[in-house]
């Protein structure tokens, strides 16, 4: 659909970010090369421009970082909580001060729209550090008994979809509880974690308390398997999560996993259609659908299917895809070529299995990794696109007639991370929310996050909770 309104470009300046041509590993408070000298390049998914060259941690580096964290643990865990709290408050403040720089950096490295890094990621990152800072000197009151102890060295592996936010989710509670960390950011988005190392330097954080090791899956595997790591936290795919669970089997390592999802967004016939449409869009097209808790299965009551889909298609036609640094951009780039290939192949599978594909008229940039917002109708529960996590801007639409059928279909998945309910009936919200097997249920809203709120999955979406009082448990010996 030709847009009725043309927008002048409104690009955010990238001058605020000074990206060095190369970065090292951050171990024991210093940037250092990898022991074997390996490096890899990180590119901007929107343009394929090489942003920087980053040291790639190998096994020897993992060992060095874990040792540094172990040495730092003794002093860090012995610090009074009030002092640890102040470091975390400092970090939170510095993140707020540098949030524009970090937002632009994140958008460059990840491909997500500046609108989202600026208005969602960065405020939440700062909020998480603020929230957990306040816990550091109140652990006796967290409900885990008097004087709960930290575990030791936490090995943390995070994904590329929310690089800095996932770092905050992992590092803030770990430090608040007195653990030290070795964190591996994803290979496609290492930069914001390396900038975070500089935030730690500015905050005066003691050496070795936070160590950052960019690398690929083998780096993460070495970290998870390291015998001197006491706690493993992973956010990423279910397949890798299962592998990690096998690796730590038979050890005393504490494990939390935040894995995939196939969230059902259920729209009842009495739902406010306009609000539901916004929620559906937010549920699946936020962050290009590269969200583990995305509402990737739309379950719509049969009687309003046509009306809802008409509104939804009309709304999708107004979404603006393009330069992530443009402040008017709704849909940015897919994070990597590999991810684009995966989305493409699953979408082709959807078509070949007989589902009906629809996208708004949408011009894709010629360089970079792009995928138009897509929805599938005539989807059945047996279809691959209704079962497998696509992790892209692809919505599968299914229908139902009764609340029981909606619940049965929503729960018909190996996953159990998120779900949405759209209805004007309060009793129906509560009744349906009770029956959904999912860790987060958004009623008449979607994709809301807050540091005070426990987040995590049922079933194969993993175990453990991040956020809130519950999030402390993962890092305490309880």
């Amino acid at each position: 659909m030709a847009s009725a309104f043309e927008y002048a470009p409104a690009p955010e300046s990238r001058a605020i970010v000074d990206i060095a041509p190369s970065y090292g590993l951050f171990i024991d408070g210093e940037f250092t090369e990898a022991a074997d000298g390996k490096v890899f390049k990180t590119v901007s998914p929107a343009s394929e421009e090489v942003l920087s060259e980053v040291a790639q941690a190998g096994e020897a580096d993992v060992d060095r970082a874990v040792q540094a964290a172990r040495r730092a643990f003794e002093k860090w865990s012995a610090l009074p909580g009030t002092e640890r709290a102040k470091y975390l408050f400092r970090i939170a403040r510095i993140i707020q001060e540098r949030s524009r720089e970090l937002a632009v950096l994140e958008t460059l490295d990840n491909g997500k729209p500046i609108k989202e890094t600026r208005d969602a990621d960065l405020p939440l990152v700062a909020a998480h550090f603020f929230y957990y800072a306040g816990w550091a000197d109140k652990l006796d009151h967290a409900g885990y008994g008097a004087n709960p102890r930290p575990l030791g060295v936490a090995g943390q592996v995070i994904p590329w979809n929310f690089p800095l936010l996932m770092l905050a989710w992992k590092i803030a509670p770990a430090l608040a509880t007195g653990n030290t960390v070795v964190l591996k950011p994803a290979e496609t988005t290492p930069l914001s974690a390396l900038f975070f190392a500089d935030v730690c330097r500015q905050a005066g954080l003691p050496k070795g308390v936070v160590n950052i090791l960019p690398g690929y899956g083998d780096t993460g595997a070495a970290l998870v398997a390291h015998p001197d790591v006491n706690k493993v936290a992973f956010t990423g795919s279910t397949a890798v999560g299962k592998q990690i669970a096998k690796t730590v089997a038979g050890t005393r390592k504490k494990l939390t996993l935040e894995l995939g999802g196939k969230g059902a967004n259920i729209v009842f016939d009495d739902a406010p259609i306009d609000q539901a449409v916004e929620g559906i869009v937010n549920g699946i097209f936020f962050n290009q659908g590269q969200v583990c808790c995305a509402g990737s299965r739309l379950l719509v009551q049969e009687s309003i299917q046509d009306e809802l889909l008409d509104s939804l298609k009309r709304r999708l036609s107004t979404l603006r895809l393009g330069d992530p640094l443009d402040k008017n951009t709704d849909i940015g780039a897919i994070n990597s070529e590999e991810q684009l290939t995966r989305i493409t192949s699953l979408v082709e599978r959807g078509e070949s299995e007989g589902a009906e594909r629809w996208s708004p008229a949408c011009e894709l940039p010629t360089s970079g990794y792009w995928f138009a917002p897509t929805l599938f109708t005539n989807v059945t529960q047996a279809h691959t696109i209704a079962r497998d996590e696509i992790f892209g801007p692809v919505l599968s639409v299914l229908t139902f007639r009764t609340p029981d059928e909606a619940v049965a279909k929503a729960n018909n998945t190996q996953y159990g991370l998120s779900a949405g309910i759209w209805t004007e009936k309060g009793s129906r919200i509560l009744a349906v929310a009770n029956k959904l097997r999912a860790g987060v249920v958004w009623s008449n809203t979607f994709n809301k996050f807050d540091p005070t709120s426990p987040f995590g999955g049922y079933k194969e979406s993993g175990f453990g909770r991040e956020g809130g009082r519950h999030g402390l448990e993962a890092y305490l010996d309880v």
């Binding site: 987060v440 809203t445 807050d450 709120s453 194969e460 175990f463």
Partner: protein
């Protein structure tokens, strides 16, 4: 059996059977094994459960999960308390069985049984309190009503401790069902009789069939299919040794079961914390807007 009056009449032996889906089947394999007391005297033949028995028990536990997890916490507390009442009535039977099973004097066995009944009562009182202790409202920075509450994980496989045949068994079973899960219990391999008799108690209390299923036999043989079972949501490895526990934990990773690793317990009689309940609970966070309403009367 040295009692003179018993020597004058031939006592009636009991055929011990499994407890699955509210019924008392023999093992489908038709196998039994000899259970002896601490001095190697024959006590009974216990069913030697097979993989098929384990799978049948999972089916029964899954079938029972909806109603049991959906029952009110008050109702679950009433049902559990009823079990304690039934246990009290069978006190002497259990004292006898525990004494035989663990080679304890009558008075020590009696203390074990009393502690067990009290343990059951303790958990009966937890059903309607745990949600308040581990759940609550979250003060989110926005116009949202947001609540986290605990929910049962689902079907839990419980490998009962090997040494403490009754107190240990109840200490791992009661927290699982108090919170709304259903259980497939593998009794102590060497001393399964108190567990099998507990099945009879459960059957005559108000616990719905399938909520607890009791299997006897070789722990490793029954636990292996349970740990690998795709419809089991969690496993308590209390009764597994280190080698078996690792093997089972690896198998359990295949569908990301919640795993409670063996925790060294010196004395089951000390008051437990809430860890064994929270190990098999999920936290669900529900959000709802509270913001101002738009023209349509709805908020987003």
């Amino acid at each position: 059996m040295s009692d003179k009056s018993e020597q004058q009449r031939l006592s009636v032996f009991k055929t011990y059977k499994l407890y699955v889906g509210g019924k008392f089947p023999r093992s489908e394999s038709g196998r039994v094994y000899e259970v002896t007391d601490s001095k190697d005297n024959w006590l009974a033949n216990a069913p030697l459960s097979s993989r098929k028995d384990a799978r049948d028990a999972v089916v029964a536990a899954r079938k029972a999960f909806g109603a049991w997890s959906g029952a009110t916490a008050y109702n679950r507390g009433q049902v559990l308390y009823r079990v304690a009442e039934m246990l009290e009535g069978r006190r002497s039977q259990f004292v006898h069985e525990v004494a035989d099973a663990e080679g304890l004097s009558k008075s020590k066995a009696a203390a074990q049984v009393e502690a067990t009944i009290d343990r059951w009562v303790w958990y009966a009182g937890w059903t309607d309190k745990i949600a308040q202790v581990v759940g609550g409202g979250n003060p989110v920075a926005g116009p949202y009503f947001n609540l986290s509450s605990p929910e049962p994980t689902g079907v839990v496989a419980v490998l009962a401790p090997q040494e403490s045949s009754f107190l240990g068994l109840v200490s791992v079973l009661a927290p699982v069902i108090a919170t709304g899960n259903t259980a497939v219990v593998v009794a102590s391999e060497k001393s399964p009789l108190p567990a099998l008799s507990l099945g009879e108690v459960l059957a005559t209390s108000d616990v719905p069939g399938g909520v607890v299923n009791v299997l006897s036999g070789r722990t490793s043989e029954i636990a292996t299919p349970l740990a690998a079972h795709q419809d089991v949501n969690a496993i308590d490895l209390a009764g597994a040794d280190d080698v078996l526990a690792k093997e089972l934990e690896i198998a359990a990773a295949d569908n990301l079961k919640r795993v409670l690793r063996p925790q060294p317990v010196d004395d089951w009689s000390t008051t437990p914390g809430i860890d064994r309940m929270t190990a098999f609970l999920e936290t669900k966070t529900v959000w709802h807007p509270t913001g101002s309403l738009g023209a349509s009367g709805s908020a987003y």
